[in-house]
């Protein structure tokens, strides 16, 4: 089910919300959690019910291993380590089968001139997210940092529908303590106001802003053979803005919905296009993925406690894997490596201790990110080349199309200069102001949502659903 669908907004969410608090009101805390769990499974299964057993199987398997850690903590270390390795490899194997089978076979066929048929497996929704979340849980559990003995609680940690599909990637300790707090079992009007406001900000960002830029990005990336300078820049900047408003819109909706249930999910965005360098960018963009990569890949590889050569290799390896996590293709790997190289370059630059004026630093960072998104969006290498050749002006200047240019200039101003939605929502402490803003944005976004419905009989999917 999509957050930007009428069935979610008008039926699923109100019913889930009301029954959850009704059960809590009756003092049935356990029943309310089971209800939320059932609702989350329904939310997941709405897209493709056939994958519900898959996610349940994954949950049972990982919960089983974590219980082994809990019960056999006194046993020898090797035994526990073996279980951890089995757990992690099994999770990666599941991800590998569903997400990377075609990619591996394609490369195998190419390198050995073999002709193995591609299985074309449909990617189960959210598999990258719930796999990473559970690997993190296994590692934390192995270290003894989490001790969850309730299957219901563990399942809810993985399945809680606001964060299930596209994150934020949460830690167990961030989530489950909140479900157990007695105050969180009570209906909280302040959280409802804030939640609704943040949800509508997110919905507006998605259906009004991101989906508008999606049209211009798609015209450039998918529909045009050659691109002149202006058209190529319109296409690349449109995608840069589309991706930000799409994913941060989704995150806002997730945070807003979770807040209705008195759950505070971690922030995932902090005005990333305001970053003054590439490290700063990764501290602001998809923050929970960055945290995961740092805690579970970069630091175990040695992090910055090793020599500068190893550190640089660690950075590039981490981002290579980041690229691979985003998509099974060389183009995604290239995108990841590009960011790894940029971080290594930044590392050298900071060691030289030369300060760059913040305007140039910000512009340079943004231009690099915009350049790298071209590879992220392109379906094939030739699409990326087409856009880059156009951006460099090799195909002439092109025709001035004012409407997308006005939108791009305006929303670049927003992402560079305005407060982000979280800062905005935090500052609105006046409840009636929040109501009017939510009403304005909500009305606008629902009208546009309906526009998609009546025009295509469909709603636009989120970009990160592909990962």
């Amino acid at each position: 089910m999509l957050f930007n669908s009428f069935e979610f907004i008008l039926i699923f969410l109100p019913i889930t919300f009301l029954v959850f608090f009704f059960l809590n009101h009756l003092g049935r805390g356990e029943a309310s959690r089971i209800w939320l769990l059932g609702a989350s499974l329904f939310f997941y299964g709405w897209w493709e019910p056939v994958y519900v057993p898959l996610i349940l199987g994954s949950i049972i398997f990982n919960f089983g291993i974590s219980q082994t850690f809990l019960k056999l903590k006194s046993k020898n270390r090797f035994f526990l380590q073996s279980w951890l390795v089995i757990g992690i490899l099994s999770n990666l194997a599941l991800l590998g089968y569903f997400k990377y089978a075609d990619f591996f076979i394609e490369n195998f066929n190419w390198s050995l001139d073999a002709k193995i048929e591609l299985p074309h497996i449909i990617l189960p929704l959210a598999i990258s997210f719930f796999t990473f979340q559970q690997i993190a849980y296994l590692v934390d559990s192995y270290k003894g940092e989490v001790k969850e003995s309730s299957f219901i609680n563990y399942s809810l940690f993985v399945l809680f529908f606001p964060q299930l599909i596209s994150g934020p990637i949460v830690h167990h300790k961030e989530m489950m303590t909140q479900f157990h707090q007695p105050t969180n079992k009570r209906f909280n009007i302040n959280n409802v106001f804030s939640g609704v406001l943040i949800f509508f900000i997110g919905l507006f960002k998605k259906v009004v802003v991101a989906d508008t830029f999606a049209i211009w990005a798609s015209q450039g990336f998918d529909a045009t053979e050659t691109m002149a300078l202006i058209e190529a820049w319109i296409a690349s900047l449109s995608f840069t803005l589309q991706l930000y408003f799409d994913f941060s819109g989704y995150t806002d909706m997730a945070l807003g919905v979770a807040l209705l249930f008195n759950i505070h999910l971690p922030k995932n965005f902090n005005s990333p296009y305001k970053a003054l360098n590439i490290r700063d960018f990764w501290r602001r963009w998809h923050m929970t993925l960055g945290r995961f990569l740092k805690d579970y890949i970069y630091i175990p590889l040695g992090g910055n406690r090793v020599g500068s050569f190893r550190l640089n290799i660690n950075l590039i390896t981490t981002f290579l894997l980041c690229g691979l996590w985003h998509g099974a293709g060389w183009i995604f790997i290239f995108w990841g490596v590009l960011h790894g190289i940029a971080l290594v370059t930044y590392q050298f630059w900071s060691q030289m201790n030369i300060k760059m004026h913040y305007f140039f630093a910000g512009t340079l960072t943004f231009l690099f990110v915009n350049f790298s998104w071209v590879f992220f969006r392109a379906k094939e290498w030739k699409d990326a080349t087409k856009i880059l050749v156009g951006m460099l002006g090799f195909n002439g200047i092109g025709i001035l199309n004012l409407t997308p240019i006005i939108y791009i200039v305006f929303f670049l101003g927003v992402v560079w200069k305005a407060k982000n939605s979280m800062q905005w929502a935090e500052q609105i402490n006046n409840r009636s102001r929040a109501v009017y803003i939510a009403l304005f944005l909500g009305t606008f976004a629902i009208l546009q949502l309906n526009n998609f419905q009546i025009s295509n009989d469909n709603t636009m999917k989120f970009i990160y659903f592909n990962f």
Binding site: V208, T212, I215, L439, T443, L447, Q448, I454, S455
Partner: protein, 334 residues
């Protein structure tokens, strides 16, 4: 006070949405026509907008007289060719350079000015009044009239009296022929308050959006419109319709002759029974004509391939093709 603020907030949101629709790729369309006391409606002058559907997103434009804009420079030293037709000729979904009048201009080497008086929802009876009211007959050398005679393809046989449809967005002038030479003109009714409000609202994107929304949810709920075309095919008595069509074509021809204008009729009639009736009439009146369906059959072109996939109107290639066919049939000497 709170209620007032809520209403104001919603109104502000609606106004912002109207602006967004107007200046975004989601333009749905505003009304391109305005009330005309003689025809019922006519194109707004110097108007341009975008016509969007799943398979096209076309910018269209009218000139100062409300005609479909030319893709060539009008030369007052050359004589004109007046083109009459319905929405197939008006062609708001076709790129301007491909619309039949612009294609004909190219086919005839720019020797004459081709002027497009096409208007959606019209048939021969309305064409006569459009010709009398808007065209400068004295400048014209030829007159090309498109007559469509089948359900789903323009439906002139059904549409002789637009009032039967009860649609307010159609040109409501009606001519009732007692015989070829005698007819009565029923002027469009004056606009009532409801129509005035509707015309005002139709200038806004939100109006079209609302209509589209209602249509969508009505279709989801399977509420059927009572539409004249739902009458089983073949069971219709066309006597009156033929009378109106023949009378109008006759009168247009009479007007053309009086002004020394060459009258040509382009028939589009997938129903071969209809084709026989109109062909016999045109031959009797000695009006040169061409049946496009005959020509398509000769070229072995499937009728289903000449329209848009999301809309029954002729596509860009069809407009160019029909211009070539007309060129091959009529020399239109200067």
């Amino acid at each position: 006070m709170k209620l007032l603020k809520i209403i104001l907030t919603v109104c502000l949101s609606l106004m912002s949405f109207e602006l967004f629709l107007t200046f975004s790729p989601f333009k749905g369309g505003v009304s391109p026509v305005q009330y005309d006391p003689d025809i019922g409606m006519w194109h707004k002058s110097n108007f341009q907008y975008v016509n969007s559907n799943d398979c096209y997103n076309t910018k269209y434009e009218f000139d100062g007289n409300g005609l479909i804009k030319n893709h060539y420079n009008f030369n007052p030293d050359k004589q004109d060719v007046i083109i009459l037709g319905d929405s197939y000729i008006e062609a708001l979904m076709i790129k301007n350079k491909n619309i039949v009048h612009n294609s004909l201009y190219r086919e005839y080497g720019g020797r004459l000015n081709f002027l497009n008086f096409g208007l959606g929802g019209t048939g021969p009876t309305q064409h006569l009044e459009i010709l009398k009211k808007f065209a400068n007959i004295r400048r014209a050398k030829y007159l090309i009239e498109f007559v469509s005679l089948d359900e789903g393809w323009g439906r002139d046989l059904e549409e002789v009296d637009p009032r039967e449809f009860g649609w307010s967005n159609r040109p409501l002038v009606h001519l009732k022929f007692s015989d070829l030479d005698h007819y009565e003109i029923f002027k469009p009714p004056t606009m009532n308050i409801k129509e005035k409000i509707r015309e005002f609202l139709a200038q806004f994107e939100l109006y079209g959006y609302l209509r589209k929304t209602l249509k969508y949810y009505k279709s989801k709920l399977s509420v059927n419109d009572s539409d004249i075309s739902k009458i089983p095919y073949g069971s219709r008595d066309w006597t009156t319709s033929w009378g109106q069509i023949k009378g109008s074509v006759f009168q247009i021809n009479k007007l053309a002759k009086a002004n020394h204008i060459g009258h040509r009729v382009i028939v589009f009639s997938p129903d071969r029974n209809h084709n026989k009736v109109i062909s016999a009439f045109l031959e009797l009146q000695e009006i040169p004509f061409v049946d496009l369906v005959d020509e398509l059959e000769k070229l072995k072109i499937d009728l289903n391939s000449i329209t848009f996939s999301c809309d029954g109107h002729w596509n860009d290639e069809t407009h160019r093709l029909f211009a070539r066919i007309i060129r091959s049939k009529f020399s239109l000497e200067n």
